[in-house]
Amino acid sequence: MSFSAIVIQFLNGLAGTSSLFLVAAGLSLIFGVSRIVNFAHGSFYMVGIYLAYSLIEYFGRGSALGFWGAILLAGLGVGLIGIVVELVLLRRIYQAPELFQLLATFGLVLVIKDVALWIWGAEELFGPRAPGLRGGIEIMGRTLPEYDAILIVIGPVILGLLWLLLTRTRWGTLVRAATQDREMVGALGVNQAWLFTSVFALGAFLAGLGGALQIPREPANLLLDVTVIGDAFVVVVVGGMGSIPGAFLAAFIISQIKAFCIGIGTVEVFGASFAMSKFTLVAEFVVMAIVLVVRPWGLLGRPQAMPRHAGAAEERISLASRPLSMAAFAVLAILIVLPATADTYTLVLLVDIFVFALFAASLHLMMGPGGMVSFGHAAYFGLGAYGAGLLLLKAGLPMELALALSPLVGALGALIFGWFVVRLSGVYLAMLTLAFAQITWASVYQWDEFTGGSNGIVGVWPAEWLTSKTVFYFMTLLLCGASLWLIRRIIHAPFGYTLRAGRDSPLRADSIGIDLRRHQWIAFTIVGAFAGLAGGIFAFSKGSISPEGLAIPRSVDGLVMVLLGGVQTLTGPVVGAAVFTWLQDEVARQTEYWRALLGLTIIGLVLAFPQGIVGFVKARLPARLGGGL
């Protein structure tokens, strides 16, 4: 790259900083005060860009006043949506466990996506260039678009304004105080409800504005929500949760990496050519991993306490009570005789349920006894699925062997990622798992030659003797049943107790000689193996694998199952997986807008059962029946 090219890429990176910073700053502010990780923040960005598009069309493409007015109004409109969301939804669940709040905001992601689909359609929408700023600025013989120059200025200006707002106004002082101890702020006579609403509105406004400002640079589309929330997580974690300057610094770094990866284009290394532009996601997440290992709280952040448990409190675990064991055997007996009468459709659905029960149970082992929340559990599921598929098709292994190796592939991925992950805790740990899941997804998605890219792999069929749906059903029942039994043994074994010890009190665990990190790392690997097995079975049951299998929504599916079922008992995720898988199947058959229905269902369930379905039932059962549930 020539010097002038470097300068231009640097300026490109600076222009990209602004929007990213706006989204991340809003996310950070909201988390600081309400302790809610707002998954829907990317959706606010997306709505911002769509609203800007529509408003510009309404005011007419030619008018500069109309253009800037549209951008500002789009931001304000999203701020207004933020107020409604806060008043109608979040306000009711501030007392619920944090992970349930997260679920509710994910439900919101689904709803907003479908509303956007309904209003704006599935096609990408290209906005106009900014009136009066269509030219370029000559810099060392190259051209920087004028609009980019404006963006370069906007970012720092908003950083400055936010800084003034937070340090020079009473509102800012109250926000910073509430970030530390909101209850105390209330006891000093400050109306917290109002404070929360205003912070949420500001955060949403910033996200909406960030989106709107991008309308001349990128088309509005329905994938932006998840892409942007992924980027925003990276920025917030790299910069440090709660630090606005940190968010700016991190947005700057990430944007520069993107700009340079794209600017470099294709490079030749030892005769092989690499398209660097395809590695932007990977490069971004590698930076995040490095920062987190060196500075676990982000570049400008500070250690943050995070809820370690998603349930009401750490609950005792106990062996199954007699009625519960009998119920389990009864269910098993029914499942064994069922194929005699059931149709193929039911068997296929049950295979899905078994697979996701195992997937959810493995996540439960990590989240419940392990106390480590994963936002990216689909990575290990996907590794198992792709591992099995590739071993079958590329390595030519027999299907049985490919399936047997799928847990090892999942475990290997977990072993490598886990080494980084267990260095962190709480929300940082969760976000790092998401980052690794995104790396895995991006690698799979972009490596066309090996993984089939966005098309995935087809022709992953089971061996001859397993082609009968009934035989496959029994194999799945056997493998998943045995795995669940094993997970239960582990939870009651010294290893499971040691994990719980570390979750309950890391301080005490450390002071009785327990190397917590090592145990967590091993747990992470074991969990990866179980998820990998689930993925392997899934691949063969469908005959094909696509990158969606390890994308963020799949990870969230797992979270929904565990949290709906109840995080502190093994029965919970199994019930959650069954209900969720069945529900998803039912809803998807009914309507094109199944996502919105699913989202509304999740939100409804969170509002109705803040302790999970099993927790809800347990609270209404006599203790002697509920033991071990």
Partner: protein
Amino acid sequence: MLRVAGLHAYYGQAHILSDVSLEGNAGEVVVLLGRNGAGKSTTLKSIIGLVRPAQGEITFEGRRIDGLSAHRIARLGLGYVPEERRIFTDLTVMENLEVGRQPSRAGAPAWSPDRLFRLFPNLGEMRNRPGGRMSGGEQQMLTIARTLMGNPRCILLDEPSEGLAPVIVEQMAATIRELKQEGLSVVLSEQNLHFAASVADRATIIEKGRIRYTGSMAELQANDAIRAQYLTV
């Protein structure tokens, strides 16, 4: 001024307070004495609205306040100084005071940072120091100053002497006596009888969530039997 009658409170299944009654008159220092876990903090938290009592009536200056949210109770002129200090460690002394600031009200002493720094000279020397870099004693003074910024007519102090060096405890007692002279009513919870005796006019003893004794501090000092039974110092 402050009247609590027939208060019951629960945490989950546990019955923390049962039939607690308490009265604080204008210009008076009342102490709620009891052991750890006896229900002192819960009583104060119920009054300020941080714990929602299951049953009972709380009135402040003749107005029902049970069921109101904490910020509305605070705005009526009832200040609360929590146990464990809970200052905003990221904020400076001045910013901590700003969070507590409320408009001045009739019938209550009006406080400004400058006036508070005369009461707590230490704090005046560290106006821009973050709360996290202050000693325990200084933090305790700051929590009181912060609450006073709300210009309360009555303040609730939750175990102000806990965890402080004996020499700081003496300063704390002097401060409370000064506040009383300013015309503030004070309700404090304590385990430390010596400290309580040096500031309080009246005492109420709570044990296992029930009120066991109410009377003047002088009477309690004279009543060896009651002290031996509930306080055993």
